[in-house]
Symmetry: C2
Subunit: 589 residues, 2 copies
């Protein structure tokens, strides 16, 4: 559980303890020590186990008359009470050593002790804590924080970020600059929290990222910027999202896409926790188009195969109606994934080598054999087919993941749980048709993303075909970072905003003006720290790597936030609550 | 201006430049280099000076026919344009070396170049920038950021914080934990910004410090916490305050006041910038009472004398009416400061050794001589007297600082501008009478501050007499930090909130409950980073050490925040603007 010896410091500095509870070994036998910790366990007035952040130590309670007061004190201390114990380190009696416990060779014979804070009755036993509802655990977050699980996640997070800072700051000349969080709404910033100011009708907003500021720092000649930046996003209720989150925010001048990628690979390699193995660089790279074609998603989990295969050509000659129909669309195709030892019935290869499927009667022998070859089908494998437009075929990507989950639940080892597969996804489209009105375009990422150099002229003739200099970093099928080379030319930025996106460029006039006054070419990236850490420690949720997370409804269940305020408290901000009709009525009655 | 050689890294990594503009020396002569930078100066098509974050390099423009295109390009580039220059490092011709310039022994003979971004006409010349109004400089903050002044302040800030992190994290086992900024109002949190949530009538608030969370982390067994924490305070318009600011936030378990003080002394000593000399530890310490008595303030500037002297006993025998009147108050006294070579007329020691004052005629020879001795008066010194209650005498503290400013303006060297005098002020009162109703008490700092151990029993009998375990860190007369040992006993916390402060403890019930469930004794401190850095770099305002500060009215003059939002944008938050009457009327007409 607790990892001893991972903290390279003298925990006795500035306090009166001599050692932590994870520290004592046979070499300490005979020393007089003072420990501070929580009562983890106590048995019949004979001994107790003391716990602190670093581990556990067994404390022997003296049984002689002269120490009756001490015995009384220690045997009556409720579990989770905070105590100081001073005593002498002794070897455990022969045969009673505990090899599973780092301090299992010794015990401390108590000589004096003090109950620093007695613990009242806990709302539940700590050992049952993990079984309780998450809401209850969040209400008593400070108790859950005592668990080895959260202790080690938060400590790993602190160490990893420190190591990233050393890489950026000490090795590569990055400057840690704090940017404001009270700013103003960005165009289309519907997910930005508002903060009322004392000027009537005027609001700050909490930005989703320091994007504008980091670009302005480059215009200001800072050259290399980074920040562990708190960001805000009001998405209402969404599972495993937090209204505030943290990103490792990076920007550089005079850099290209490859430069940022090598920097980030070095950053992750440098800060990667030793106990999680090592990671190889450079990371493989895949275009957006390849990712969608082979994995049906722009964040492929490359830890396993089951890639999507285009079998349009195999089936093109068949007379099957839906095949012909699908192939008649502009980007129509027939695609398939092959699931090893699947169990649902679609196309199955039987032990005699023949295919069993509703489809097979429509296929000739040549087509059957080509199908087996194209999908590299083994005995008992199952194939799932999708036919239709590009987007429909991409649905196979979700099926691929679902199938992997089902196969693993059934005991097939498909993905190595200790493997970390990083992947760059590149060459995204610069613009996408708006969902609500496909004749209009919106930025695939944000309006500051530079077009791909080879597609720059297309910007003016056919913007839908322009690829961007955006890059995503994917880890085991999760997006853990994204960035781009930015537009540094004011004309180009104005064209994108006004002509392509049809947006009012006035709200960004300060940024465009900055591009006119000596802006260097620049680019950057932001890594999602919460998600990255949760993948590294294999936590099911980002809530497990945040000290005080909000519930999925955005509530702090411990302190009860958000909360009502009085009309008087709203007055300086010139706002009032518009109660929904039903609540207004309810208040009347 | 620019300090060369302070950046210990290879700035060529990840980019195609070979060197920065501050790096080249005679040893580089003969090398082919590629520099990126801004055109700082250009002269008659003969040479230009290229600038980046690290310094300046002189670039020679070739004059031969074969390079006419290059000459045309470089001579026509407007100042502050961004260019790439590739060329060969050459020694400057004999006698043309510039010893004031770190790169002054060399020049780069340009071979190829590229204008990466041409600069449009600047709103003013960069060299006149410092003369412009601060509002204009804040509007074009990204131009001001190119100045050596801001570059070096922000880089020093980054380095110093990094060094603090290394001390806390790597040397002393502190864990960097991020705490939420979307929380709920603390009792009496009138200065907390509100953030409307999507639940009707419910608001988050942006906390003034992570106080509750850091205490809960101690209850959670984190043992040693720190955070470079963004904090928020809505004070409306106040000069040299910022609505968001940064503090080095620290908390430890099992520690006492001395432990925190030694930790902080070590922290500052470890991270102190070399170029500012060194600081001695431990820092001197002074009680709140002594500070008020001798300096008339709880944040004394100890770089100079002119201490306040109690001369009550000297004058007690005199028949002067106001003296007798002042001494009749419970804490009445007569105090004085002696201003060396002052020039205003109060009591002056004349060259013949006699005193000249409206007061002297009321004094006997013995009293006059005692006065000279008590104040150690020299020739031409001036004494300012204050008589009355304690608070009135403390006004001498402000007079002392004012006098020091006047004397320095007149050319007297009183305070060493390179000296850094740290001071602990301790033994503050735990409670103070409320300004608006002196029969009620409020916390001198905050309700979680623990009473002084020697005064613990007074808490229940005479709370006004209780000293606290609060400590302030003062630097050159500025408060740069404050902290305390906290209450860890639930009963005591409840007593303070309910019985002494008469507050509703319900809003803090989660914290009190946490104290009941195994809270260790703990304490901490917060250092005001913006103020500390501004003192270290001797900047007149904290705005000079913040990349994008707000104006003193809380506005971002570059991006124009806060700003109006539409009623539709307010709708999801169930709020509407209450327009002040005059604006409502104006809108109607």
């Amino acid at each position: 559980s607790f990892q001893a010896g991972t903290v390279p410091f003298t925990p006795a500095r500035f306090v009166t303890r001599t050692n932590t509870c994870g520290e004592l070994r046979s070499a300490h036998v005979g020393q007089k020590v003072t420990l501070y910790g929580w009562v983890q366990y106590q048995r019949q007035g004979l001994f107790l186990v003391l716990r602190d952040f670093q581990g556990l130590t067994q404390v022997i309670i003296p049984q002689d008359e002269a120490h009756s007061h001490l015995k009384e004190l220690l045997s009556s201390a409720p579990l989770e009470s905070v105590v100081r114990v001073t005593g002498t380190v002794s070897p455990r009696p022969l045969g009673q050593e505990n090899p599973k416990m780092p301090t299992g060779d010794i015990e401390v014979k108590a000589e004096t002790a003090e109950i620093l804070n007695s613990c009242k009755k806990l709302p539940f036993e700590i050992k049952d804590f993990i079984k309780k509802s998450e809401a209850l655990r969040m209400q008593y977050r400070y108790l859950d924080l005592r668990s080895p699980r959260l202790q080690s996640a938060l400590r790993l997070r602190s160490r990893l970020v420190m190591s990233m800072r050393q890489y950026l700051c000490n090795l590569h000349g990055f400057v840690d600059v704090e940017t404001p969080t009270l700013f103003k709404r960005t165009p289309g910033g519907a997910k930005e929290f508002l903060v009322p100011s004392r000027e009537p009708g005027k609001f700050y907003s909490l930005p989703q990222s320091p994007q504008q500021f980091k670009q302005l720092l480059m215009v200001g000649g800072l050259d290399r910027y980074f920040q562990v930046a708190r960001c805000y996003r009001d998405e209402g209720s969404r599972p495993d999202r937090q209204p505030e989150f943290t990103q490792i925010d990076i920007e550089m001048s005079f850099v290209d896409q490859a430069g940022i990628q090598r920097l980030v690979e070095g950053l992750l390699q440098h800060s990667w926790p030793e106990e999680r193995g090592s990671i190889m660089t450079p990371f493989p790279s895949m275009t957006y188009e390849e990712a969608l074609a082979e994995y049906g998603t722009d964040k492929p989990d490359t830890r396993f195969g089951m890639k999507i295969v285009d079998i349009s050509d195999v089936l093109r000659g068949s007379g099957v109606h839906f095949v012909q129909n699908a192939l008649s669309y502009p980007h129509g195709s027939i695609r398939a994934i092959c699931i090893p030892q699947g169990e649902i019935m679609e196309i199955i290869r039987k032990p005699d080598g023949s295919l069993k499927s509703l489809l097979t009667k429509f296929l000739g022998e040549k087509e059957k054999s080509e199908l087996i070859q194209a999908l590299n089908m083994q005995e008992d494998d199952v194939v799932l087919l999708a036919a239709g437009e590009h987007k429909q075929c991409c649905a196979l990507g979700a099926l691929r993941l679902l199938s992997a989950n089902l196969l693993e639940a059934a005991g097939l080892a498909l993905r190595d749980p200790t493997a970390f597969h990083f992947l760059w996804v590149v060459d995204f489209p610069l613009f996408l048709p708006k969902a609500e009105n496909p004749t209009e375009l919106e930025s695939a990422h944000h309006p500051f993303t530079a077009p791909h150099p080879s597609d720059a002229s297309l910007l003016y003739s056919d913007p839908t075909k322009v690829r961007s200099q955006h890059y995503d970093l994917v880890l085991n099928g999760n997006e853990v970072g994204g960035g781009s080379i930015r537009i540094h030319n004011a004309e180009q930025q104005r064209f994108v905003l006004e002509k392509v996106l049809k947006e009012d460029s006035e709200v960004l006039s300060h940024l465009i003006e900055a591009l006119e006054l000596g802006a260097p070419p620049h680019g950057g990236i932001a890594l999602g720290l919460d998600r990255l850490i949760s993948l590294i420690v294999d936590a099911p949720s980002i809530r497990d790597v945040i000290a005080f997370p909000k519930s999925f409804r955005g509530r702090d269940l411990m302190g009860n936030a958000p909360d009502y305020v009085t009309p008087e408290e709203l007055e300086p901000y010139h706002i009032q609550v518009s109660w929904p009709l039903e609540e207004k009525e309810a208040k009347k009655n």
